[in-house]
Symmetry: C2
DNA sequence: ACACGATTATGAACAAAGTTCAATAAAAAT
DNA sequence: ATTTTTATTGAACTTTGTTCATAATCGTGT
């Protein structure tokens, strides 16, 4: 019952994360427990604490995976039309975001439904990862701003992101009932983006 | 150890909710446990299950309180200028919402951070309560729509709400770092509302 | 080969969580 | 006074995260 060395530290780490990933996908992150993971990978709970410092640690690493997937998705150039206007590609990006949220609801919810204990600090590399998500968005709306309009551009990017996210969140969690009773959410996002973009020109 | 009849059923209910409310306000809803509540009101955990069916039941009732507070706040006529244009009052409403989120962060987070177990269905009265929140908003933007534009008005109300909420949520949870690095969130909300409103006119 | 030290997995143990329920004490009814 | 009803309890069960002494095995030096 010791030093099996069947798997390296690194292998164990990915095995644990893979297991946690699958459990999350199937049943949501609240079903992720040390004992469930251990059972899934053929180890015991204690092992997980040899590789991660806590369950929070595991879930933060899981969050990072989700961010990575999201990032890879919205960065893929083949989704966009480089010749099109910003609002066209913006709508595509918003749809990609929304589709990820609905296709991988449980993984996506991990990012926002999982409440880090207030004592646990979010590691710096995680914040940097999220900050990177803004880059393609800022690049996309860049043509709408005069040179030197960096600040307004960053603000606009954050507003757009928040708005799209807010709609997806309230739709996904069904916290606001009837949100889809009057229009397709995609239509609403388009409407929102059009409104905001045309407002930028003032 | 029985039938003390110190308090009626109804009294017990409010005592439990008051205790849960205070614990939430002080330490967040994850600190709300049956044993904590029981200790606070001088009863034992079992008593709580005589009054509520489960801890979920307690937390849903708590959510209802938050919605009631929010509703009362944004409905108060004295906050608004009936002679002003919609965008002016809209901004006020958005600020009220944001201020509630920051002043009562733990209570507000209960609404969105507390994940109802997927098995637990949200009761109908709760959904109706939330739907009511839209009424003052729809009324406010009514002048922007021609008669018969009911559908577009409802859509616009939901988009506005989602956007404002998205910004507040990402700010409050600090899920998106640096969101406040470039502008005051109030300024961002104003910018967002202006953009969207001016986009409605097309 | 052998033994020893370093490492690694274990599983028993702890506290605290939600939840249940037979037992009990007190109020109400007879 | 006795019985019935009911409110409250507290012990018990399961499951959670987490710790750590213990045991097993690998790598290495003799």
């Amino acid at each position: 019952m010791a030093r099996r060395n069947d798997h390296s530290r690194e292998e164990l780490k990915t095995m644990i994360l893979d297991a946690a990933w699958n459990i999350t996908g199937d049943e949501g992150f609240s079903a992720v427990t040390a004992r469930r993971i251990a059972r899934a990978i053929g180890y015991t709970p204690g092992t997980i604490y040899n590789v991660f410092t806590s369950m929070d640690d595991v879930l933060i690493a899981l969050c990072a995976r989700v961010v990575d997937e999201l990032s890879a998705m919205i960065t893929l150039p083949s989704h966009y039309d480089p010749a099109a206007r910003p609002d066209h590609n913006l709508k595509i990006m918003a749809r990609l975001y929304r589709r990820y949220a609905s296709d991988h609801l449980h993984h996506w919810m991990l990012l926002f439904g999982y409440n880090l204990t207030e004592s646990t600090q979010v590691p710096e590399w995680y914040n940097e990862k999220i900050a990177l998500l803004f880059d393609p968005l800022e690049q996309m709306i860049s043509p709408l701003f005069a040179p030197g309009g960096e600040r307004r551009k960053k603000i606009a990017a954050r507003i757009l992101w928040s708005s799209v996210h807010g709609l997806c969140f309230l739709e996904a969690t069904r916290k606001i009932p009837f949100i889809t009773d009057y229009a397709d959410p995609e239509e609403m996002m388009d409407y929102m983006i059009d409104g905001f973009i045309s407002g930028i020109g003032r």
